[in-house]
């Protein structure tokens, strides 16, 4: 395991190596060399299985972290490759030539986060949504509850009381903490 990481560190600018548990490690690499690293892992290091591609929205840092989870069946080791991309320029090299299912993930990320993968097939086709007219729904700033209430509405006739407030109103309306 350590040899692999050493090798990777020698050839690539990987950082933030994080051993999550035996059999699973994550590392971070720059956007430009990510595709080469993943290709290298697949072809030379035996990480032949792509578990998934996903994205984490760190809106407070202004980045999307793409996660490529690769698995090596021989060493039973899983390697998570993290790639930070700018939230404003959300674009990433496509890896659809490496795995057959990669373009599906990229299509999903396009729809759910708005990330562009130039060259990836059927990228702009609807995947799960149809006629979506809002910001991509998985972005953190999209509030699904507010949207649902506005567009779909709820049945009327619901009202709930907070025990504490209710008891104050009923039992000691003039006492308790004064409003500042």
């Amino acid at each position: 395991m350590n040899e692999l990481l050493e090798r990777l560190q020698r050839h690539f600018d990987v950082n933030n190596i994080n051993v999550l548990k035996p059999g699973m490690t994550t590392l971070k690499i720059g956007k430009d060399s990510a595709e080469i690293l993943i290709r290298e892992l697949r072809d030379r290091e035996g990480y032949t299985h792509l578990n998934f591609i996903t994205c984490i929205d760190y809106i407070e840092d202004g980045i999307f972290t793409l996660v490529y989870m690769l698995h090596n069946y021989d060493s039973k080791h899983t390697l998570g490759v993290h790639v930070d991309i700018d939230r404003e320029h959300e674009e990433m090299t496509s890896i659809h030539t490496l795995w057959a299912q990669a373009w599906t993930y990229q299509r999903e990320l396009r729809e759910m986060y708005g990330i562009n993968f130039p060259g990836s097939p059927r990228l702009d086709e609807d995947f799960c949504l149809e006629g979506w007219d809002q910001i991509p729904p998985m972005r953190r700033e999209f509030d699904t509850r507010v949207f649902s209430e506005e567009r779909f509405g709820h049945r009327e006739g619901r009202h709930s009381e907070v025990p504490r407030v209710h008891m104050k109103m009923e039992l000691y309306p003039k006492r308790g903490g004064d409003e500042e």
């Binding site: 049945r155 709930s160 407030v165």
Partner: protein, 606 residues
Amino acid sequence: MNLRDLLSPFFVWQRAFEKPYTSIRPTIDRPGAPAYRGFHINVSEECVGCGSCHSICQNHAIDMVPAAEFEGRTGDSGLRPRFDYGRCCWCGLCVDICTAASLRMSNEYAWISEDPDEFHFTAGVDDKPWQNNEHGYRRAEGYHLYPPKRIEMDMLSPDESVQSFEEVARGYSEAQAKLEADRCVECGICVATCPAHMDVPDYIHSIRDGDYEKGLQLMYRTNPFPATCGRICTRRCESVCPVGILGEPVAIRWLKRFIVDQVDAKDYPRILNDQIIESGHRVAIIGAGPGGLSAAYYLRKKGHAVTVFEAGETAGGMLRYGVPSYRLPDADLDKDIAYIVSLGVDIRYNTRIGKDIDFEQLLQDYAAVFLSTGLSVPSNMRIQGEDHARVLSGLQVLADVASGRDPGIGSRVAVIGGGNVAMDAARVSRRLGAEVTILYRRRIADMPADEEEIHESQEEGCNIVPQAIPVEIIAADKPQQVSIKWGEAEMVQDPTGGRPRPVLQEDRMHTDTYDCIISAIGQGSDLDFLSKENQQQLAIEWGKFTPGEYQQSALQKVFVGGDVANRTADAISAIEDGHHAARGIERLLNPDGFTATQTDNTGEPA
């Protein structure tokens, strides 16, 4: 293709001879499994309406709605869960979290309707056929969604504690406090029960956040004695804490103490940031106990010039003289008082109303008077010989010890009484090296003292003799000693339904000799400073006031509070009286700017 493959499908026919397994009337023949998660049942009498079910429901399927009165547990909020079966997913988390275990599930599952607006019901209130169903999901034994046991407070061992006046409860560590604060379900039922209506869930929340300064601010909104109450409060809040129904209540008092312990006294002005804009009004307060000082604090915050008249040498009243320092160290009481004084409250010590200043004079000089003189006169036992020199009052013993004087109790002491003062006197005597016997008229379970106090005094070696009625005090052979004649009592049921009465058994009399007898059977008020005329006007009954709205007495300018005006006679009630009187005085002095506390009553789920 071979013949076997061709023929094998026809084995299907063998099934024709098997017993059919169609259920003829599915809904009737097939009830849900015994532990099926079907429609909800709520035992309304057990429910306290804490709203934990509402908080945990991820679908916002539960509304808390006011329901008709139930003979429920104390602290019942009066709300009951109302279910929206257009939302509920029957996960049963509400059953799992239910603090009172009143919420259950039946194994009924069929509800068909044409009207989509019909799928609402208040479990246990609306009549539903499954309310009395015996089957259905119940929380399994040993399954908890919050820790039922409280975090133990470190205590000095009884052997150590009797050696000195050092504080017995050592306080929570930060880790312990966070774990204990984590147990709170944030229902807020305690807020209603707390006489001062402290924002308990909010300051417990601030512990979880590690924001103790905010916690302190929250506490000062309703209570300027947090360090004191964090140690000696009678904590009625804990008696209604729903977490305590199935487990142990959240240690609200210790958590309050923890917050105060985390904040240094010199940071108080910065944190509390009480801005005072002088109003020009002058208010007199009689008595520098918790009630008087609480009123002083809130009046001072409103900008009034406050003068407190105190008969004793120091401020604190009963907290100072009546509570021994192993329960409330002087430093902590001073922490609270010093902050109140720092706002510009003028305390005139050694000033007795009626002797040094006339009450009528106060009424003339000040815009309002708050009267909280407390109960300072020990009650008599009303038995023969009780004026013997070796019969001491519990209050006097405590005051002597608090002031650093030797009460001179000797080495064998009998304490008469079962209240907190009796326990304190007994434990103080233990610390002074005496062997202590406590005589109490009723059973131990009937003792008005805190259970914890009773337990700790027993642990420290006080011998409690219950059902013992003092009959006579007799002079002993030696002048430093005194004898007491007492008789055993039998508890007799009261035919009118009151609590059982002890009845003296004439044939079982004992006489014991002690170095002194400490009488601690209660205290009365000293209102001699009021003229007869005033006493009549102020409607005093049994030495106590019965205040009106905002603690106002029959005299418009006079407000009353503290032990002298309430039944509970504990610090937290006095503090609230002071706070409420301050509100009343504010209303009197500044009628235009006054608004009663209002909070919006919306319960929209977050």
